[in-house]
Symmetry: C2
Subunit: 352 residues, 2 copies
């Protein structure tokens, strides 16, 4: 049969309550005891019974809330979350939601009303939805948001920052370094803050290189293939043409690639194209896409880890969480990530 907390206690020679304390990282358990208990847990391959825990009041499901058409992104997030959650004795409930449909709150209400949810992981656009955030705060439900931007110490909740601004700066800087001067930017929907951040990073790099921004080269649109293809078609009709395109994600870039091909514009010789995200298909286009790699699995792992710490802190009445980070996991990832430029075959120096 499955090992219970009492089996662990017996093996470690302590009361079962002490084991409970160790598992939940409650303060005030001697170090030696902690080690004995962890050893016993490992030996018995013990995992807490979620139902029992739920029953007693402590929910142990973490809900992953998302609405993202990019399967690759979602899967990487899921797997990152799963690994961390399981390691910490929580289970993951995936919860795709239709962001546009209006009854987001009602759907969420339904999910939360079961009382099984210990905390939420919010990805854009939900992580930037003030109404939703306010509702969660009011319910005092722990959550972690994954957002675009750089760290803001004033945030009351844990938050994972993806520095789209810097990554976009790096990309644009790289293109300018190759001699490009007419660099177009194909944005996504501006409801997504990442689209805005990427544009700002792009503008900052242009300024750094003394390139004047040209409003005609900054084309708003959507985060998908068709929008990228469409906008590129129009860009290629301009005189003079841009020599490089920075697409706000890989799908837009794939669309750009498609239009370049249709219009018999050679990539990269006549037109360099850069994407953003490093989805698998960025390696499956011709030529292979230069892009910025987003470490989604790590981002997710970090999110889960911060969320769980926050859940525990809110249970134990606050400060506790800061204490164990120095000793237990020095390798605990920080809450800031910066996508890295990956140079492949869709970029080269600007034509003369």
């Amino acid at each position: 049969m499955k090992a219970t907390i009492k089996d662990v206690a017996k093996l470690a020679g302590v009361s079962f309550k002490t084991v409970s304390r160790v598992i939940n990282r409650e303060p005030s358990v001697g170090e030696e005891l902690q080690e004995r208990v962890w050893a016993a847990i490992k030996e018995l391959n013990y995992q807490p019974n979620i139902s029992a825990r739920q029953l007693r009041g402590a929910a142990s499901f973490i809900a992953f809330i998302y609405d993202n058409p990019n399967s690759h992104y979602v899967i990487e997030m899921q797997h990152g979350l799963l690994a961390e959650c399981r390691a910490q004795g929580y289970e993951l409930l995936i919860h795709p939601l239709a962001a546009g449909s209006g009854d987001t709150m009602a759907d969420l209400e339904q999910l939360l009303s079961t009382g099984h949810i210990a905390g939420l992981v919010l990805t854009p656009p939900f992580s930037e939805n003030p109404e939703l955030i306010a509702a969660l705060r009011e319910r005092k439900l722990p959550f972690v948001r994954i957002v675009s931007g750089s760290s803001d110490p004033a945030e009351p909740e844990p938050c994972i920052y993806v520095d789209d601004y810097q990554a976009a700066f790096d990309i644009t800087d790289y293109l300018a370094g190759l001699g490009h001067r007419r660099i177009a930017f194909l944005g996504g929907e501006d409801i997504h803050r990442s689209s805005v951040e990427r544009r700002h990073g792009y503008l900052a790099a242009l300024a750094e290189h003394g390139i004047d921004e040209d409003p005609a080269l900054i084309v708003p649109g959507e985060f998908n293939f068709d929008s990228g293809a469409d906008r590129t078609r129009r860009l290629l009709a301009m005189q003079p043409r841009p020599t490089a395109i920075f697409a706000a994600n890989d799908e837009i870039a794939a669309g750009a690639l498609f239009s370049a091909r249709i219009n018999q514009v050679a990539v990269p010789q006549e037109l360099s194209i850069v994407g953003f995200e490093d989805s698998p298909f960025s390696r499956q286009t011709w030529p292979k896409l230069t892009t910025a790699h987003q470490p989604n699995g790590d981002i997710a792992g970090s999110a889960a880890s911060h969320l769980i710490a926050s859940i525990r802190a809110s249970r134990n009445g606050s400060a506790a969480s800061h204490q164990d980070s120095p000793d237990s996991d020095a390798s605990l990832p920080d809450n800031g990530f910066r996508p890295q430029l990956v140079v492949r075959d869709s970029t080269c120096p600007a034509p003369q």
Copy 2:
């Protein structure tokens, strides 16, 4: 607060145990009492607490077991499963597993040992793993398998069939109808039965059109981009070249497209390429891929529905499940699916 069984009992003026009996349709409760209890349940809008019930024995989670690098496929399956599970009062637990790693059984054992799992949804390659299936049978755990093939009435467990054979036949038939005679087949790993089925469908269609099969044109390999690119490079070096390539999935097809481009072979004018699956990126290549659409969401929904029926049947001691199908869901999907040919831009009549 949420109503409990005791609140119901108090309102109905009976002991809470009697309420439990009524809810679980146990025999030996007087009719008049039953009515009083049901009325109270309705009035309080009472719903049993899943955790408490789990704790005491009855599981209500369904696990989705998979190992598939194709994010798109996984996501569509997940969403199809989720919709059906939630509708029927079950929750979905996703469980990615590394098929090759050998400790599959150990990992699964761990999952099952929690006792929370009411049933499993198995996708290839797990759905074709005899050891795993035997283990589940022995534990008497309900499961549903999603496999490649056509219906086999001898199966003791529910099973969803995807008719890769027929779909591959349709594709090859379509190519032959366009006048192609030298049609290459780029397979995947033969551990996946779908790879084998697709090859057989291909061969059958060739035979139907009186085309001799050419072993040099049937190239085994892997279900990925690089393998497709590599094999296509070799195919294009042949004299005479094939005029069409049937790739066993879209990724292989994307690789083929890539190699054709590198070798300056025009697609589709000089070479037609067909994929299989209709992943999103089949619309994001240039030219857009002709492929076979696999209705993954529907397949998943059907799997969940069959699994839940099977779970209920095994709880109530067998026959029960047949009784409610006629009235409740006449629209219950069948267990056979056949991917449909989608013609896009990567195919055209054979060159003269």
